[in-house]
Symmetry: C2
Subunit: 299 residues, 2 copies
């Protein structure tokens, strides 16, 4: 993501114990203190919300997921309802009303001396939000991408949208080094999800995806695609795809807020199905685009 702006002209939102009133400021004016628990412990969470032509999609669902993450890690953030308004204002201040954009929202437990237990009394959580222009992923959506499989070495609470992304970074880097775009995690012989995507397979006309549990993030686009399957009367099963089943899948695709629905046409250097985006994947892509168009037109 990039908005093509330098840090000295991009407006972001920031609030912290050092700046408790919070406010809009240029990105290069934001000062994260070294003792921010986000910096020292990855003691924080994030969300990524997409806007289409200035209108955010699924913000309520993103906030519900953020509430889940907050509750699971014990961060109190009663101001959560302010987030859509701040993100909308950032769209306006950065001139992104007529383009695809993405809000990155990061929240940490706040600033205190380095010790593991929660600060007592609680401190002001640190809030950082930036909105960036989203580069087009039309080529990937149309032609599909290559992916690799990697061992899922992450923690066992991937339902929490946690800042601790080094395992994802390492997996993604491994994909890039092998000329692929995404890495798909395999844990105990089953496909869980990608580094920033959920994974769907198609076999004999049935759409398959890992159930929503502690080993995957409950993706907003994932849920939307399951709903679309039901609306289109495509059989869909929330059950793990076995690693051993991968080679026999007819279609494979990824879902994410930024990439929507992306076909995987090569996996571990071998073609998936016929090596091009499959018919069910394309049907779901069309349905998803129609859904977005209807929203943009004010339905």
């Amino acid at each position: 993501m990039s908005n093509g702006k330098k840090a000295d002209s991009q407006t972001v939102y920031f609030r912290s114990a050092d700046f408790p009133s919070g406010g809009f400021l240029f990105k290069n004016r934001v000062r994260i203190a070294p003792n921010d628990r986000g910096f020292m412990f990855a003691d924080g969470l994030y969300e990524v919300v997409r806007s289409y032509g200035g209108r955010f999609f699924g913000f309520a669902e993103h906030l519900a997921r953020l509430r889940h993450s907050l509750a699971e890690v014990g961060i109190d953030f009663p101001e959560i309802g302010e987030l859509p308004g701040i993100a909308q204002e950032l769209v306006r201040r950065n001139g992104l009303e007529t383009t695809a954009a993405v809000a990155y929202i990061q929240l940490t437990r706040g600033l205190c001396e380095r010790r593991y237990p929660f600060p007592t009394p609680p401190v002001v959580p640190t809030l950082y939000i930036e909105v960036n222009r989203l580069l087009s992923a039309a080529v990937e959506a149309e032609q599909g991408i290559a992916a690799i499989t990697v061992p899922d070495i992450r923690w066992s609470r991937c339902d929490i949208k946690w800042l601790g992304l080094l395992p994802n970074v390492l997996a993604r880097q491994r994909a890039v080094a092998q000329g692929a775009n995404e890495a798909i995690f395999v844990r105990d012989g089953v496909v869980t999800e990608g580094t920033h995507t959920n994974v769907f397979g198609v076999k004999a006309g049935v759409v398959l995806t890992h159930p929503s549990d502690h080993h995957i993030l409950a993706g907003i686009t994932r849920a939307q695609v399951i709903q679309l399957c039901r609306a289109l009367r495509l059989p869909v099963e929330e059950r793990p795809i076995l690693q051993a089943e991968l080679a026999g899948l007819d279609e494979l695709f990824l879902t994410s807020t930024t990439g929507e629905i992306t076909p995987v046409v090569v996996l571990d250097s071998k073609p998936v199905g016929r090596g091009r985006p499959g018919p069910l994947t394309q049907q779901l892509q069309r349905a998803f685009r129609d859904l977005i168009s209807s929203l943009s037109q004010g339905d």
Copy 2:
């Protein structure tokens, strides 16, 4: 850890892409950029090194471990040899030459736009170092502490001293909420380690501790204690302690850079052995103190 100084009078060391020359400055002048990969991805590492009366202990071993962590995550930091000199200078500048102190060293992959793959070309790693006065843990060392067991939900590369400490924070908080001082992780029925400590058990005169593999950090004090066992001709076995064995242990203790050797006298609200520090634990504590004394005297 605390040095009793406010951020506006504590001198720390900082270097980043925004401040590539690096230098000593007051803590409240350090500005971590929001796009630092340490803040957004926990894409970084740390070390904690202890000094006794102005003299660091085991710095070479800490650097060797940091080299391992750096290699495993693909961060290039050729300036690693500068760290002891910087830490020593921070001891001097903060007037900590005659006390117990601890250097906290944090290194991140650096500053770039938010995207998972490594920046190309690589950017300057962010380096942050602070040295704090270490509060005395004499009471804990003498009387022992209470601990609880918790499921080990962490990633499977705990040999890397990674910033992603939220699982440790949550476990430690759970211990505190139950009136205990430390949480001990149990994975697949075996004790791995504590949230910031290695775990040793004693059964029928044999000292037991988890082998050094991907599920624990290779603690510097852990290695030192194993060496002391050998020097004292105490039988020591690096093999996992089963969760089922915990109730039958004669002694249980923790090792760490900051706490050295800490007896656990209560585990999950039940006494360990006779409910007070055991004889082998005490023997090892004395041997460790002798080792430190000999070092402080210039051996």
